[in-house]
Symmetry: C2
Subunit: 246 residues, 2 copies
């Protein structure tokens, strides 16, 4: 069954009106008509709803049922990702959304070759948010991940204060033998509510960045013996956390 | 340090000669010269080797050191993947190689829209093998995964006989409530040596295919509460197995 996210309120008669692209999608693309049912995520809950009437501009739906189960991770996991090259951030956004990420913070790392200027920034963000919304719909999530605009190291440290657990995935660690097993570290923080994990861009984090993070309560983690690409590492971490917690 | 895979033998003087693309890469692309060191994976071991002499056609190297540690998974994990659309199989090949996959079997599933004809088959396979080789080099593996040509259901059942544990990732399961936790199932097979996991194409496996697999000793697994795309599910499974075993 199709799934739509909306910011519209549910009125006192258990009705909701969906407009814009989603209305177009229901009526024009999916060729739905009154009586057809869809999932609607509104006001942080997922409902089964029935189409009462609709045009490609506006569709009125009525609540049939409220779903009680949640497909969200029992823990809030956010990703800080050194700005990578090409369209890798799109792949990370899509896959990390499927894998349950809460928020994505692109990070202007020292070794990030890509820079976002103001104009590019806005366009890119809109595109990433669209990818996150579509992936959230397809993977049956009840929350669309937040895609933040790029942050610098100071902003990262400020954001980190709001998280119970802070990890930094440090490639150098995987190369050397001082490996701290991710599994062991995760088990130690099992009762915590929020995790922030920092990943470097291609070429990894600069030693000076790692030093600052370690001085600010971040714990280094190693994601297994093989070297993972920039875009693979966050997916590994999210899959491992889902596996551990879900 | 660069890493090269070769089928060439090591001679009695601890020398090896590398030709073809890799020789070109060392001398022309990386601009290496006598005395420079690289990793060479030969005869199933990884060696540190020193260039003795070389042209872009042939490079002679001498063993400096033999590495004892392995970056390979302690268990053989192979993926059967319903032929997906577009270039998704390339993404799966690259990422699954990073994540430690042993062999990839593309599978002509009932709902696979894509068909490979004989000519396409060969071209695609060469391309996927190249992707696997490059990903194995980059992720510091000591083995290049085998990329098999597409198989049908009968061939799949025959191949499955060689594996200790057989799983089928069934999307319908994730939708319904009869979830069998992957973590619990993996823990039950901890002492086994080889795992084969079947994933459907877009739209999932046909009920009739699942039935045949279940009759042939496959166990259904569910990969968490969210619906994962065709190309994300194998990566989730490999990451989870790596997390559990490594």
């Amino acid at each position: 069954m199709q799934r739509y996210f909306t910011d519209e309120p549910i009125n006192d008669n258990n009705l909701i009106t969906i407009t814009g692209e989603d209305a177009h999608h229901m009526i024009q693309v999916m060729r739905m008509s009154p009586g057809d049912q869809v999932y609607v995520v509104a006001e942080n809950f997922t409902y089964t709803m029935k189409i009462m009437e609709g045009t490609s501009k506006a569709v009125v739906l009525q609540i049939v049922d409220k779903l009680t189960s949640s497909n969200e991770m029992p823990i809030k996991v956010s990703i800080v990702c050194g700005l990578p090259k090409g369209d890798k951030l799109e792949l990370i956004t899509q896959k990390a959304t499927e894998l349950g990420m809460h928020t994505l913070y692109p990070y202007e790392a020292k070794r990030s070759i890509v820079k976002w200027d103001k104009q590019k920034n806005e366009k890119k963000l809109v595109r990433l948010q669209k990818i996150a919304k579509e992936a959230a719909e397809q993977s049956h999530r009840s929350r669309i991940p937040t895609i933040h605009s790029p942050i610098n190291l100071n902003e990262l440290l400020e954001i980190a204060q709001k998280y119970d657990v802070k990890f930094v995935a440090d490639e150098e660690d995987a190369k050397h033998e001082q490996r701290q097993k991710f599994a062991e570290q995760l088990k130690k923080v099992y009762d915590k509510k929020s995790i922030l994990i920092v990943f470097g861009p291609e070429g990894g984090l600069d030693r000076s960045e790692v030093k600052v993070l370690l001085e600010n309560d971040f714990q280094p983690i190693s994601l297994g013996p093989r070297i993972l690409r920039t875009e693979t590492a966050p997916l590994y971490a999210l899959a491992a956390i889902s596996y551990e917690y879900e």
